[in-house]
Amino acid sequence: MGGVDLDGLATIDTDVAVVGSGGAGLMCALHAAAADAQLDLTVISKGAVGRSGCTRMVQGGYNAVLSPGDSLDLHFQDTLVGGKYLNDQELAWTLVCDAPEVIRELETRVGCFFDRAPDGRIHQKAFAGQQFDRTVHRGDLTGIEIMGRLRDQMFRIGPRELEDVRALDVVFDADGELAGLTVLDTMTGAPALVRARVVVVATGGAATMYRIAAPAREKTGDGVAMCWRAGLELRDMEMMQFHPTGLLAGDSRMTGAVLEEGLRGAGAHLLNASGERYMARYDPEAMERATRDLVARAGYTEIMEGRGTPAGGVLIDISHLGVEEVERRFAGMVARTRQIGQDLARGPVEVSPTAHFHMGGAIIDRDCRTAIAGLLVAGEDAGGVHGGNRLGGNGVAESTVFGARAGDTAAGMARERPLRDPDPGQVAASIARAMGPLEREEGPLPFPITRALKDAMWTGCGVVRDRSGLLEAQARLDELTEQAQQTSVPGAAAANPSWQEALDLVNQLTVARVIVRSALARDESRGAHHRADHPQQDDERWLRFLAARRGPDGDAVLEPRPVAFTRRSPDGQLTEAVP
C-alpha cells in the first residue's frame, strides 16, 4: 500500500499516549504519573510542548466556586442557562464540582500563583453570564501562568515528549481493539508507530477554519477528525462559539485575536459606528455582560445592517475607567491594541466577532471514556460540557478538570489493557495518506484551499446561518475536500510547514463538513447556533442534542437525542437533590 515500508517503521511502546500538550494533555500526564509513577507516559504534541494550543492563550481566567457566598449550584445553573440546557448535565456538574479542587491543586502542587484580593485570598473577577464573581486569574494573561507551571511539572515527572510530532490516526488490531497511533515527526518527516495501552485525545478544537478566528495555529480539529475516522460519535457539532470582541487588524495575522471578556465584566461599552450602545436594543438588562452568543450576534447584526465601522467592525470602549486603571487591570490587552496602532486605555478599539471555541466534540462520560475501549477524550475535543454556548472562564476549567480525570482513568485502564499489534493494513493506509501531499508530483498548494475553507465557513456557517447559505457551504466543502485530496507541496520532508498545512486542511475539512451538516439539521436557534430562517428557540422539538457518526460512505449520519435532565429541568426545577 503506497510503498510504505512497515519493517523499517520506528515503533515506540508506551502505557499511555497523550495527544496534545495544552491544559488537558499536561494535566492528564500529571495525574497519570501521580496515580502510578511506574507508568510509561508519552506526550505527543504537534507544536512545542506546553507552548502550543489555546490553554496557553487564556486571558481572563478560570471559573471556580471558592467563596462562601457562591455555590456549586449557582455555577451549575449559570453553566446550564449559558448552554441553553443542551449540556450533558453530568459533565457540567462534574466541571463545577471539580473546578475548586483543581484550582487548589494548581496553587498548592503545580505552583500557579494567581492574583490575590486585599485579604490575601485568591482574587476572583467578574465575567459575563454569571451570578457571582468567580473567575480566578493571573492578570489578564492567565494562560501563561497555568501552562508555564504545568510545563515545568513535566521536568519533574519526565514523560517521553514527542515534540513537533503530529498524531495521524488511531489504529486497531485484527480484533478491532485499540492498539495505538500512527504519528509523523514534523521536524524529520519520518512516520512512526506508537503502540499504547491507552490513548488520550486532547488536541483542542477547530475554530481556525473561520476567516476571523482566535485560536492558535495548531487548532485544526486534529483530535476530533481522528475520533471521527476511528468511528466515535460526536455531538453538538453545530455549536461553534464566536467571541464578541476579536481584534480587527486588516490582513495581519493578529486579526481575530481576542480582547478578553473581563473588559465587559469591568464595564466596557460596545458601540456601533454612530456611537450608540447597541446592546440596549438586544439585552437591555444584561447589556454588555450578556452571554457571548448574544453579544456576538448583536455585533454581527450591527455590522451586517450597516451600522458598523468601514472596516467591518464595532467598537469596544473602556477608556471611561481612566488610563491608569485600564493599564493596571488590563496590561496585556492594552499592549495588544497598541501593537496594532490603537489604544484601549485611551479610546474605543475596533472589534468583530471571532470564531473562538467549539462546544461540539466526541461523546464522553464523566471519566472521559468513549465508546471505544482504551480511547479517552478530554478538553475541547469532547462535547457536552457546555451545551449550546460556553461561559467565559469555563474553558480552561474544562481542559484542566477533564484532563486530570482522563489521567486518573488512563492510569487505571493501562493496568488492564495489554499492548497490541495494530493491523498493518491500517498503519500503511494511514501513513500513505499522510505522505500523499509530499509524494504527489502535481497538485494545488494547500494555502488557497485553506483560505477558501475559511471564507466558506465564515459566509455560510458563521454567526448567523440559514438553509440556503448552509447548502452553499456544503457544496463548497465538497469541492474543497476533493481538492484537498490532491494537494502537492514542494520541498523536503523535514520541517516543511506547507506539508503540515496540507494535513491540517484535511482535518479541518473533515470537521467542517460535520459542522455544516449538523447546522442544517438543527432548524431552530439555540445558543451559538442561530438560524435566520428559524430565529426562535424551539424547546418542543429541539431540547435534543445532535449525535453524528460516520456513515458507510463517509458522510455524517445524524440522530437527535433527548437531553437527560438528570439534575435540573429547563424550568429551573431540581430533578435531583443538589447540595
Binding site: D119, D152, R253, A494
Partner: protein
C-alpha cells in the same frame, strides 16, 4: 510601484531570510499592508513565494513564545515586531545561541536544559493544602509579580553575550525563574536553588550587559533578578 497610501504606506518590502540550504532562495519582496508584523512578512513569503521556508509560530499574541527570530540583528518575537513605515528592507535570522534545524527553526533544547537545572517547579512546603494567603502588597508578591509572565521565548538567551557563547551559563530566563521560586514562601527548595544559581555557571557569569532586559518582549527584568540573586547570596534573604 504604487504610490504610498494609508493601506499601502510604501513600496514593496525587501526581505532577506536566512536559509540553511545555500540553494534555497533568500531574497524576497512582499506587498506591504498595515499593520504588518515580521510574522505577517514570513507568512506572506510562505504563502505567495516560497512554501518551503521553515519557521515557527503558534499564538501570534506574545503568549506562546515560539516565534522568536532576529530582525536586523535584534532578537524579537516575530508576532510582536511591527514593520514601521520607515523600514524599506529587513533581514530575518534565527535566534542566536541555539542550533539551527532549518532556516529560522532552532532546537531550543539547550535553553530548556539550563532551565531544568534550577528545579523550575514548585517544591511545596509541608502542609500547603490550601492556597496561601498572600496580600497583593506583600514583599514576595512585589518581587514575584513583575517576573512572572516568562513565556520561555529565549529572546534573553539570544541577546546575552554569555549565554549564547559556547560556555556554561544558566542564562537569564532560568535565573529569573529561580528568583521567582526562591522568593515564593510556598516553596521549600530555596536554599538548594540559591546554591545552584551561585555556582560557577550561575549569577557570577553575568556581566550586566543588560541585553536580556532590553530584549524581553514581556518587559521582565532578568538582569534585575540576577542582581537580586547575587545580593541574596552575599547578604542573605531577609
Amino acid at each position: 510601484m504604487s504610490e504610498p497610501s494609508a493601506t499601502h504606506p510604501g513600496p514593496r518590502l525587501r526581505v532577506r531570510v536566512h536559509r540553511s540550504d545555500p540553494a534555497d532562495r533568500e531574497h524576497f519582496e512582499v506587498e506591504r499592508f498595515e499593520p504588518m508584523t515580521v510574522l505577517d512578512v514570513l507568512l506572506a513569503v510562505q504563502r505567495e513565494q516560497d512554501a518551503s521556508i521553515g519557521f515557527r509560530f503558534s499564538c501570534r499574541v506574545a503568549m506562546c513564545g515560539t516565534c522568536t527570530v532576529r530582525m536586523d540583528g535584534r532578537t524579537v518575537l516575530a508576532c510582536q515586531e511591527r514593520i514601521g513605515p520607515e523600514v524599506e528592507a529587513l533581514r530575518i535570522d534565527p535566534v542566536a545561541g541555539l542550533p539551527v534545524i532549518r532556516d529560522l527553526l532552532v532546537d531550543t533544547r539547550p535553553f530548556w536544559e539550563e532551565w531544568a537545572r534550577i528545579t523550575p517547579y514548585l517544591v511545596p512546603v509541608e502542609g500547603l493544602d490550601e492556597p496561601a494567603r498572600v496580600p497583593p502588597d506583600a514583599r514576595e508578591r512585589e518581587l514575584i509579580d513583575p517576573s512572572l509572565d516568562c513565556i520561555g521565548c529565549g529572546a534573553c538567551w539570544s541577546s546575552c553575550g554569555i549565554a549564547d557563547a559556547d560556555r556554561d551559563f544558566l542564562g537569564p530566563a532560568a535565573l529569573t525563574r529561580a528568583m521567582v521560586l526562591i522568593a515564593d514562601s510556598r516553596d521549600a527548595a530555596g536554599e538548594e536553588r540559591l546554591a545552584a544559581t551561585g555556582a560557577a555557571d550561575g549569577v557570577d557569569r553575568c556581566h550586566y550587559i543588560y541585553g536580556c532586559t532590553a530584549a524581553c518582549p514581556k518587559g521582565l527584568d532578568p538582569a534585575g533578578a540576577i542582581r537580586r540573586l547575587r545580593s541574596w547570596r552575599l547578604h542573605g534573604r531577609s
